[in-house]
Symmetry: C2
DNA sequence: CGTACTCTTGAACCGTCTCAAGCTATGTGG
DNA sequence: CCACATAGCTTGAGACGGTTCAAGAGTACG
């Protein structure tokens, strides 16, 4: 069934036992019992097109998602239209937990590429907490991870120069995309426009462009085909005074 | 027993049944069973002085805290000393969850006033998740709330002007402090210096000062005794285009 | 009584913004 | 196939918001 606004729900289930993400080394092992429950918890799959809005600020979504494939970003708007991108989401990330736990969504989510999402039902979250404490703990783990990334982004926007910020952002996205199958081929290609970069870093589009040109002049990145090609991640990290996000293996729900 | 670095552990327990926070209308009701478990979960109390560092970036703390009284702030440092304040913590807030769940602390916490903290043991968190799903859910709730505040702060630092940012920050702190006994008397007094404001908003101290003077000239705030007195919260909210943090009652762990 | 911390103000500088224009793709309808 | 529109990137010039440097005043504290 095809959707009217870039969404379509597929009834064909990608069974969790054949989850394409779970075998990846960045994710933790899972007991068979947990796997069985997640399979039961998962209600279906949702395919969204590039540019589609997955969740809207102000709504009360009945669903909670895990990204199976594709890129998206979370953002908030000020009443006069100024936009702030808060973070990016990639395979293995939860979408909509805030709304599920607290009720109303206070940010929106938009797809940067075609995406496939696992759909869970908000109402069953209590059930999960009651019966699968390990999974509940994993969800808290993922929430803490998101918080940690936000801390880092805030540090960046608040205290780094434009050049450092750009370098940081690109290195950050790279570090996250690495390991979840988004950057199979080198050089790494990130599907964002310079407007996204500007709205993430609190800069104007014009200045972002000039800053990116400086990074390009140093041979760190290249902008092509409406996206970013990363040539030297380590150079970017060094320029940004960023240590990387020192992550071990993480849970996947 | 008095500490060497602004900490002292009191063996006298403030029993959870007589918790001074729980009766406040901003917090949710609690079952007797949950209360009993929290009492068991709580290992003692920690008193810290103003200016003391509660948690340090890079450490692996064995503890997790709930603020019983007093103010603090979370922050991160860049290698060259630039500081970004991430958020403020007040009574009822959890401190150190990130570190407890993921291992290493990636931010520090410093007290803005004398504080009293309930001490929990990190190792028992799994136990809590296993036996008290409602409490586990509450912890996730609190983590989501923190995330929501960070989203809002990021929007502010990224997209609001200096004047709007200052207005937002003061209104935000006010809104949070209201209801947890921190601002008993009017006018509201917030124990932060202009340096804290600057480091929260990503501004220089000098410009922060000039901006605050503008707010003062409009009769919105007054700076006195090394702290901020709020004269017109609604005026600040309007200036910042901020709707308030629309919170219902929240859990307390 | 000196030292430290906080707030305050002025002046010069520069990082970033806004405005404006042009360029290159890509896609669409005639 | 061309005409036109749209989205994204690029560049220059001038204006402005915010930074840095510098100095001084008030208060708290040992």
């Amino acid at each position: 069934m095809s959707g009217q606004n870039g969404r379509s729900v597929s009834t064909r289930r990608y069974p969790c036992e054949n989850c394409p993400l779970r075998p990846l080394p960045v994710f933790r092992e899972f007991t068979a019992k947990e796997l069985a429950y997640v399979t039961h918890f998962k209600k279906g799959e949702l395919a969204v097109e590039r540019g589609a809005t997955v969740l809207v600020e102000g709504s009360h979504s009945a669903h909670l998602y895990t990204v199976l494939s594709g890129w998206a970003f979370r953002y908030k708007l000020l009443s006069d239209g100024r936009r702030q991108i808060l973070n990016y989401t990639m395979p293995g990330d939860l979408i909509g937990l805030q709304g599920s736990v607290m009720g109303e969504m206070q940010h929106s989510v938009e797809a940067l590429s075609p995406m496939l999402l696992c759909v869970f039902e908000r109402g069953e979250l209590h059930d999960l907490y009651r019966n699968y404490p390990e999974l509940a703990y994993d969800i808290t783990w993922l929430a803490s991870r998101e918080e940690r990334m936000l801390d880092e982004n805030l540090l960046s926007v608040g205290r780094r120069s434009a050049l450092e910020r750009c370098a940081y952002l690109i290195a950050f996205i790279c570090a996250r995309a690495d390991g979840v199958g988004l950057i199979a081929r080198k050089p790494v290609a990130i599907p964002i426009t310079q407007q996204h970069v500007a709205d993430t870093l609190g800069l104007s589009l014009v200045h972002t462009n000039k800053t990116i040109r400086k990074l390009a002049a140093r041979g760190l990145v290249r902008w092509r085909d409406g996206g970013c090609e990363v040539l030297d991640v380590d150079g970017l990290k060094e320029l940004a005074h960023w240590e990387g996000l020192g992550e071990e293996r993480r849970p996947l729900v």
